[in-house]
Symmetry: C2
Subunit: 273 residues, 2 copies
């Protein structure tokens, strides 16, 4: 049962926000949906946001609705983690609420609720299929920072669910990045196999996609050395993964960068479907 | 002395935020500036935001940078009021910080600091002229809600400073609107002449502009009856003020509406300079 929380006309469609009880995260979850005007059987994109974000940041700040409207693409933006008074959290912004890293946690107290990998790959696609008239077979995924890495690790393992993939400034090594290296130990303990399952650089050595992965990153990104994008690029070359990567002079890690490049991601995803 | 607080590349220019000590409001003030790539002698627009906003709302949510970049227009976005621990405020969001209504207050405790009319018409244009290489003679003004009404009342009295004017969902009657009728009594007492000076509908009977005023408003605007736009339109017709007014089916009072229509405002202002 979906409860609608927000509905606002934006360009030719509507920007909506829904709430529901998730069986995967055992909590209430919110996600945003952009419904373009002619939504019947339209293409769908999932956008995964970065650390500290909710479903609101991308829908308020990226300016994407213009392109979703023009290209008649539905966009689904989940929250970045479960939330609520019974949901484990921490004072570190890199762990707990807002910082799920889109994985299934294995350890206490996280494993009951922090199952965002299953939420994004199983529960949410089913909810969208059951409640909206979009064509879930034309589903792609993209994201930013933590969510850019999340989009890549999810897409590499699920090419049958996610037909296209792109990322802004993705964290390509959850093992090495200062954003994630402690967090994944909290969520996954010392289970190296499981950690590797969520690590884009490790995965790309084992799994490649037939379609191109698109990445954009700013050269003035204040976190550039914590993203490990060059290392990911090198592994893509080594393992023949087609990669369209662009480094952009002057841009940072923020939504001003995403907004400046967002049109090209809609062009990319629509060109492949 | 301007202190730079934020600088982020956005499209071909930079979105910046500055802080300075204002002689008009006797407080620190922040304003945002979008510097397009070729800013020398470029056109400038001031954007006045609505109640509760700071300089951040418009720069994060409206998506305007794409058009400012394309058309090489600088945009200056002041905060909506003075702020700080020594600045009078109230618990009512319609009075005090975030709700200056762009007038010069006459009564205690407001009159020392709440001089946003002078700030926008005198101090800020001078600061921009002295610190940036834009052409201040090509200055226009626009705004939203409280700021839409503010843009209109300011432009009607200052055609030599502001060469073009437009508004999203403006409050056209500060005397009648529930957003302002109590507030203006707080700021201006029972001084009817002064109140009339800041009331768009009263002003348009006395002062008309040679150029067209552009207004956009959503027909699903939840505050439509508190904006008095139809009444303003009627007075414009009666007094031969050229008005380009468009009512848009389905849109509300929010930034999703502004974002959907923002391109047309850049087209409008650039076409007149």
């Amino acid at each position: 049962m979906l409860k609608i929380c927000e509905k606002n006309k934006s360009f030719n469609g509507f920007q909506e926000v829904y709430e529901h009880q998730s069986s995967t995260t055992k909590s209430k979850m919110r996600f945003a949906v952009y419904k373009p005007k002619n939504s019947k059987n339209c293409q769908v994109l999932f956008f995964l946001s970065g650390i500290t974000c909710t479903e609101q940041n991308f829908i308020q700040k990226s300016g994407y609705q213009k392109y979703a409207s023009n290209k008649n693409i539905a966009v689904v933006v989940p929250d970045t983690s479960p939330r609520g008074k019974n949901i484990p959290d921490s004072e570190d912004y890199k762990l707990g609420c807002g910082a799920s890293f889109y994985l299934n946690a294995l350890t206490n107290p996280w494993s009951t609720n922090y199952n965002m990998y299953d939420y994004v790959t199983l529960e949410l696609p089913k909810i969208i299929e059951d409640n909206f008239n979009f064509d879930i077979k034309k589903l792609g995924i993209f994201g930013h920072s933590m969510g850019g890495g999340g989009a890549i690790q999810i897409a590499l393992k699920n090419p049958n669910i996610f037909k296209t993939v792109s990322a802004f400034s993705p964290i390509c090594s959850i093992i090495k990045s200062d954003f994630s290296k402690k967090t994944i130990q909290e969520y996954l303990g010392s289970n190296v196999d499981s950690i590797n399952t969520y690590d884009p650089i490790t995965l790309i050595k084992l799994l490649q996609r037939e379609d191109t992965i698109k990445i954009d990153v700013g050269l003035d990104d204040e976190y550039l050395e914590n993203l490990y994008i060059k290392e990911f690029e090198k592994e893509c070359q080594k393992h023949n993964q087609k990669l369209e990567i662009n480094y952009h002079q002057g841009y940072g890690h923020n939504y001003y960068f995403i907004h400046s490049l967002i049109e090209s991601h809609f062009q990319f995803h629509s060109s492949l479907i």
